[in-house]
């Protein structure tokens, strides 16, 4: 059986801040299904990489191909429309919107023109139904009417996931979805991610090593802006260079 085409390809991506190469010739291929984790010690350039993939930062050189299309120069909102959904490291839900409206906004972006001025959007059953479904996917449907600002930290992280799912993404770009979550919340979020990985392609940047090794199908290790290894969790665990660069410092 032939491998399905990869959803995301990074080719020779470079980004420098002053004299520092934060992304140094990064090439990466993300498969159309499953979780591909990117790990690395602090300052390895993970967040900078996420910014370049999502479109909030332009690379100095290299190309980004998404679903067979060159998206290197497209801005964030255009990439979102193509199905590249990202969650934020620092939770960025809309605090004044209800949880449902947060998700409905994302649904709206894929459901025809938003230059409609008369009909109340909150009464559009089509948007609400899809939004509720996305909330249900992350187990948050019972909190639909609550203002997002009033949700617990863990619930906000779930809401971030629901918003991303509502875009009907072809790739989920998750920037430390477990950051700041308590043990119980982490458990719940890992359960959700495990369920999602059979249906979506996910690029996961995460600090929680236990979670990464439990969830990921493939792992790439970033160190000083370079990809030093890519492989299955077992292969990464056994890789001596990785142990030296990263895992070693914790043991």
């Amino acid at each position: 059986m032939a491998e399905p085409a990869p959803i995301l390809q990074l080719e020779g991506l470079r980004k420098r801040f002053g004299g520092l190469a934060v992304t140094d010739d990064v090439s990466l291929t993300v498969a159309a299904r499953g979780i591909h984790a990117v790990i690395g010690p602090n300052g390895a350039g993970k967040t900078t990489l996420i910014h370049q993939i999502s479109g909030t930062l332009a690379p100095d050189a290299g190309r980004i191909r998404f679903a067979g299309r060159d998206i290197t120069t497209l801005p964030l909102h255009r990439r979102a429309r193509l199905g590249l959904a990202r969650s934020f490291q620092i939770t960025a839900v809309l605090p004044g919107f209800s949880a449902l409206e947060n998700v409905a906004l994302a649904v709206q972006s894929g459901a025809g023109s938003s230059f409609r001025f008369c009909r109340p959007a909150a009464a559009e059953a089509r948007l609400n139904t899809a939004a509720l479904a996305a909330l249900a996917e992350v187990g948050l449907e019972h909190r639909a009417a609550v203002a997002a600002g009033a949700l617990s930290h863990g619930e906000k992280r779930q809401l971030e996931l629901a918003i991303a799912l509502a875009l009907q993404p072809r790739l989920l770009l998750l920037d430390e979805p477990l950051a700041g979550a308590g043990p119980e919340e982490t458990e719940r979020l890992i359960g959700i991610l495990r369920r999602l990985k059979s249906a979506y392609a996910i690029l996961l940047v995460e600090h929680d090593m236990q979670a990464v090794f439990a969830l990921a199908d493939r792992i790439s290790v970033l160190s000083l802006g370079r990809v030093i290894a890519t492989g299955t969790p077992e292969a990464i665990r056994a890789d001596p260079e990785v142990r030296a660069a990263y895992l070693g410092e914790e043991e």
Binding site: T56, S114, R119
Partner: protein, 314 residues
């Protein structure tokens, strides 16, 4: 209950304005004052769409009002007074001015947006002052009020009062509908977090620009009414002080909902009038009063009932 509460305040205000001529405010100068308050209320509603709705603080809104007023002047000088032509022209001219200046201004946000709108406003002011054909600095006295189907019924104070009231109510309803629509939802999202809006596929720019243009159209209509109310138009209509007044009305009234703008405009015009009758040095009282209002009315006048409820409930 919540819906009822949201509707109660604007209904009360509009009801009072409707009854005003019959409960002791029917004299000429009182109707003139109320007309002024309602017209500025309309302009403030448009500005509210930007400040409260889109999070864009503009300090050039009076210029849009002035463009509407000068549209009436240009028509008047050309001998055109028919409302069916004058009103759309005033709305269109102000909306076009908003579209063109907004296309540049909206590339910026925050303080830069304030400065650019201020600069465009002052450009409008000096342009108006240099229009010698239309009176330049001295302003222009209209030959007469705008006519409707050839009839001169806008000369009638009561008719004009209810025209202003009707348009004010319509503007309020339109603003509320706009805010609740798909467009309004995107606009509110870009105010709360532009990055989030972009991450779900919405480029803030076109939504903000359309909102700015709509606010311009509303200001244009208000400007045409203001020209009719005073039967005189001067460059001071466009001055940045008036932009400041409008912005203050919006903030005083409260950014939480559009009726705040309505409330703020009425309160400001009426308190200003009342104080100026009490003492010659009314500005000495008015200034501190405004400062206190901003300090202690967090949700503005519009948020006052909720603030009192919270205090009562501890």
């Amino acid at each position: 209950m919540e819906r009822l509460r949201a509707a109660a305040l604007p209904l009360l205000i509009l009801g009072l304005l409707a009854a005003a001529p019959f409960i002791g405010f029917g004299a000429g100068h009182e109707l003139t004052l109320l007309a002024r308050a309602m017209i500025l209320g309309m302009a403030a509603l448009g500005l509210w769409l930007l400040v409260g709705g889109a999070g864009l603080v503009s300090l050039g809104h009076a210029a849009l009002l002035g463009v509407g007023a000068y549209a009436v002047v240009v028509m008047d000088a050309a001998g055109i007074t028919e409302a069916a032509i004058v009103a759309p022209s005033a709305i269109g001219a102000a909306a076009l001015f908003a579209l063109l200046t907004g296309a540049v201004a909206i590339r910026t946000t925050g303080v830069h947006f304030i400065m650019i709108t201020l600069a465009f406003g002052q450009m409008g002011f000096f342009t108006a002052a240099s229009l010698a054909v239309y009176g330049g600095d001295d302003g222009y006295t209209l030959y007469g009020r705008t006519t409707l189907g050839g009839a001169r019924w806008l000369e009638d104070r009561l008719a004009f009062h209810y025209l202003c009231l009707g348009l004010l109510a319509a503007t309020l309803l339109a603003c509320r509908a706009l805010l609740a629509s798909r467009f309004g939802r995107v606009l509110r999202a870009t105010r709360e977090n532009p990055l989030r809006a972009a991450a779900v596929g919405f480029n803030p720019y076109p939504y903000r620009l359309v909102a700015y243009t709509i606010a311009g159209g509303i200001a244009g209509l208000a400007g045409a009414l203001l020209a009719n109310a005073t039967e005189f138009v001067a460059p001071s209509f466009l001055a940045w002080q008036r932009s400041g007044d409008l912005l203050f009305m919006v903030i005083l009234g409260g950014l939480g909902s559009p009726q705040g703008a309505l409330l703020g405009a009425l309160a400001m015009v009426l308190v200003e009038e009342w104080l100026s009758h009490l003492t010659e040095h009314w500005r000495l009282v008015f200034g501190p009063l405004l400062i206190l209002a901003v300090l202690f009315l967090r949700g503005g006048l519009e948020g006052l009932p909720a603030q009192l409820r919270r205090r009562r409930d501890g």
